[in-house]
Amino acid sequence: MSEDRKLIARVAAGDERAFRRLYEKYADRVFRYALTLLRDPHSAEEVVQETMVALWQKANSFRGDSRVSTWIFGIARNQAHSLLRRRRGEPPPPEPLVLPDPAAAVDRETRVLAALGKLPPEQREVVVLAFYQGLSYREIARVQGVSENTVKSRMRLAKEKLREALR
């Protein structure tokens, strides 16, 4: 059994140390994932909170038919989309997705973030989940609720656009 599965089992039994350990392991990853979806730090923090609360309350509903990370990112995605639905009608978040420091505007990472920010959200999500979070296309299909071929297609399109933008 993987470390994450052991931790989830302990969280389901009410072990707060295991919960803290999972929080430490995933909070930054969920935050950065939510940031790439929502582009707003306050909303991303809210997604982390909602995801972690759901993790504590629903750990015993983890069926074990996926990796724990896939399950957590699925929860985070649902929370992010709920937040977007609640905030529909409010002004859109700032574009593009870049670091706030203007002095860094020409560095390599900022160019990549800017290019990511210009991708359609579902393509950006595939790139971040695959390359940064290490999910397979099968896992991403599960998180996004689409077919594996759709995920592959999104990756192909995203890769072409990023290659063009970063040339």
Partner: protein, 121 residues
Amino acid sequence: MNCQRARELIPWLAAGGLTAEELAELSWHLAHCEACREELAQALELRERVVQAVGKLPPVPKTAWLKVLARLGGLPVGRLELRSFLVGLSLGLSLGRLPVFAQLEILGRKLPLWGEKEVWQ
């Protein structure tokens, strides 16, 4: 495996999410196709750049953990139970908004006296 199929899988090789069977097929193709090896090199570079760029995004604020605790009404940090066959009393201490929990149990029926039972059960 042809080049079209190989190029569909190459980003996922770079990301590290292929099955053993896909990996074996793709490896064989890559050994014989220079153009796809170049494609793999580009995918690996792109992956590296995405990892570095997303890694530069700020971490979650330190206060987020405390907000999670507050949302849960406090996490238990200690528990004392006194029980007999007929009656039990649980006293708990937690971190967060409602730091004290008490519950009386009579003939197996739990009666919360204080605190948020959801966190404790």
